[in-house]
């Protein structure tokens, strides 16, 4: 059984008289431990698909199952629990909580999960070190550059070792070296812990890291191919 199963997903937006196709009859099967890149131009439906799989957005029709559970039928609280315990998000914009420091932002999800203070502290320091933010733990988002903020957001997404990471342009604002380090870290998590990665990106360098590449256009999957990752 696939980790994620999407069947005939449709999501349309009305814009004046025009109907925008966010998702147009998209069907996908994603195995546990996959490392997948979603590519396509802006407005092709990459973010809509990530949001739908993450339970952040509702569908007009179609079914999504994660580990055999229909998330399109879940209520708000059940979806929140699913996201909390099984899904890590990296958003296009950094989306950090401005009144919390880098470490507190990373610890946020673990706090909601009820992880003990000592373990939270250990894990957050370690992950911030891994993403190259050692010594910046107590800085607030406003005191960090765009790239640094993105790394905090990545650290927050993976610190709890979720089963699934949904990343929307995670390397935007990162220099080449930081991008390489981040992708290497994603791959390491993927291989060591079987974490499934679904990464929406425009960046060809990021796409090289994936085992499977799904191309989208106008809300449809136009190409779905396996490839040899770097």
């Amino acid at each position: 059984m696939s980790a994620i199963s999407c069947t005939d997903l449709c999501k349309y937006y009305q814009q004046g008289d025009a109907v925008i196709k966010g998702l147009d009859h998209v069907s996908l099967e994603i195995d546990q431990g996959s490392f997948i890149c979603l590519s396509g131009p802006s407005g092709s439906g990459k973010t809509t698909l990530l949001n739908a799989i993450g339970g952040l957005d509702s569908l007009d029709s179609g079914e999504i199952s994660i580990d055999g559970e229909r998330i399109d039928l879940m209520g708000k609280a059940a979806l929140a629990d699913l996201r909390l315990h099984h899904i890590g998000f990296v958003f296009q914009a950094y989306n950090l909580i401005p009144v919390l420091s880098a470490r507190e932002n990373v610890e946020f999800v673990m706090q909601v999960q009820g992880v003990g203070a000592a373990e939270r502290k250990n894990r957050s320091f370690k992950i911030l070190q891994e993403v190259g933010l050692e010594g910046m733990e107590n800085r607030r988002p406003a005191q960090l550059s765009g790239g640094q903020q993105q790394r905090v957001a990545v650290a927050r997404a993976i610190v709890s070792q979720p089963k699934l990471v949904l990343a929307d342009e995670p390397t935007a604002n990162l220099d080449s070296r930081s991008m390489e380090k981040l992708m290497a870290h994603f791959r390491e998590l993927n291989r060591a812990h079987k974490v499934t990665f679904l990464i929406a990106t425009h960046d060809a360098r990021v796409m090289q890291w994936a085992d499977r590449r799904i191309s989208m256009e106008d809300g449809r999957v136009i190409k779905d191919e396996l490839q040899q990752a770097v």
Partner: protein, 410 residues
């Protein structure tokens, strides 16, 4: 799932100070509102407390014992014997602060120029002092020296009405038990002042033994006045005495002797609550507005928290904790402000400019604010409970945002 309360409080506290000007203005509004609730309630309590104390002072006592028919016809024929052993045991018990027996009959007092209808009180001066007669109220001469003092003490206003003065003689007339005229000449040995002019004009003190002799009633008395330790709870004394007196005696607390005062006290409790709620309603608009603005400014963050796995109910808690912190801080400031204003005024506020109006209400011309802990608790409870209820509106609204829409807000 929600954040632990400590983390939630920390986040809420920092959120509060993101827009410190708005928070300070709201804190000031809450503090002033709470101050107004507590301070005005203390003034109202002080006024009613004064009215009740004046009323109890005029009765006097928290509890009185009479013959059953006396209140309908307070004449000398409705007297009663001096207290016996059983009653004395209760009157001298620990729950009674002081007591005295008196003869109180309607009478006529005449000077060489004028005459007036009065209440003649035959008293034991020590007992009257114990029940609250203030020696400093004697503005000329002296108070009575004992039950057998042959002098008379009249009010300042009555002295003016009778066009007489200290040392002059007056004649007091009443009826004896046989309905015959009983009269006697007294020399004015003292003049008293009272907070209420009506008391100065209507009450006359003479020695109890002398009045009993004048009326020919032996050692009979009209009433026994009993003072407890707290006027709010006269019930215990009333029931204790009730068990110790004969069936043809009436034991009544001040609540029954003066229903107007009793009603005033009950109405006051309701009025205080209404007053506090009205002030809070004015305050609530600011509170809702502040929290609404705080929510609107953070739609994206709320969406992020939802996306990271916080349930809608946890978002509600988060906003409520923020509101609670704002309210608690406002309450702290408001309480300190109120207590800091009331304590320096404990010696009273001179309102003699409106003394006539106050007298009509049975209150004196000095207003003593009374800070009662239950009022303080009530004000704080009203603000916290209604504040949190009001905060549910923005909190509920925040919880309704769909994560994907909220995250898309700029």
């Amino acid at each position: 799932m929600a954040l632990p309360i400590r983390a939630m409080s920390k986040l809420s506290w920092r959120n509060l100070w993101r827009n410190y000007r708005r928070t300070l203005i709201m804190l000031l509004a809450i503090a002033v509102g709470v101050w107004a609730m507590i301070f005005m309630t203390a003034l109202l309590r002080g006024m009613v407390d004064d009215m009740i104390k004046q009323g109890i002072g005029a009765l006097p006592g928290h509890v009185q014992i009479h013959a059953v028919a006396y209140r309908d016809d307070p004449s000398v024929t409705h007297g009663m014997p001096a207290p016996g052993e059983v009653l004395l045991a209760v009157l001298n018990s620990e729950q009674v602060k002081a007591w005295t027996s008196r003869v109180k009959v309607p009478a006529m007092i005449s000077s060489e120029y004028e005459n007036r209808g009065i209440s003649l009180l035959g008293v034991n001066p020590d007992g009257e002092m114990a029940l609250g007669f203030d020696a400093s109220d004697i503005i000329e001469g002296r108070f009575l020296n004992g039950s057998d003092d042959r002098g008379i003490v009249i009010g300042r206003k009555l002295m003016q009405r009778l066009e007489t003065r200290l040392g002059k003689r007056v004649v007091v007339m009443s009826q004896d038990p046989d309905n015959a005229i009983a009269d006697r000449g007294f020399r004015i040995v003292g003049v008293f002042k009272a907070e209420l002019e009506s008391r100065e004009e209507s009450i006359v003190y003479a020695g109890r033994d002398v009045v009993q002799s004048m009326l020919g009633i032996g050692t009979d008395i009209s009433e026994i006045a009993v003072l407890g330790y707290d006027y709010h709870t006269p019930g215990a004394i009333t029931s204790g005495i009730g068990n110790a007196v004969a069936a043809d005696r009436e034991v009544l607390s001040w609540l029954e002797l003066d229903p107007y005062l009793a009603t005033m006290m009950k109405v006051m409790d309701g009025f205080v609550l209404v007053w506090m709620v009205v002030i809070f309603l004015a305050l609530s608009f600011g509170l809702v507005n502040t929290l609404m603005m705080a929510v609107f400014e953070r739609v994206r963050e709320i969406g992020l928290m939802r996306a990271l796995g916080m349930r809608p109910s946890a978002i509600v808690y988060q906003i409520l904790v923020e509101s609670l912190l704002l309210l608690a801080l406002g309450l702290l400031l408001g309480n300190l402000l109120a207590i800091g204003t009331i304590i320096p005024l404990k010696d009273g506020i001179d309102i003699s400019a409106v003394s006539q109006g106050m007298e009509m209400m049975g209150a004196s011309s000095v207003l003593y604010p009374v800070l009662q802990w239950p009022d303080l608790v009530l004000a704080n409870t009203v603000v916290i409970v209604l504040g949190l209820l009001t905060s549910l509106i923005p909190a509920w609204r925040a919880a309704q945002y769909r994560p994907v829409e909220a995250l898309g807000r700029t």
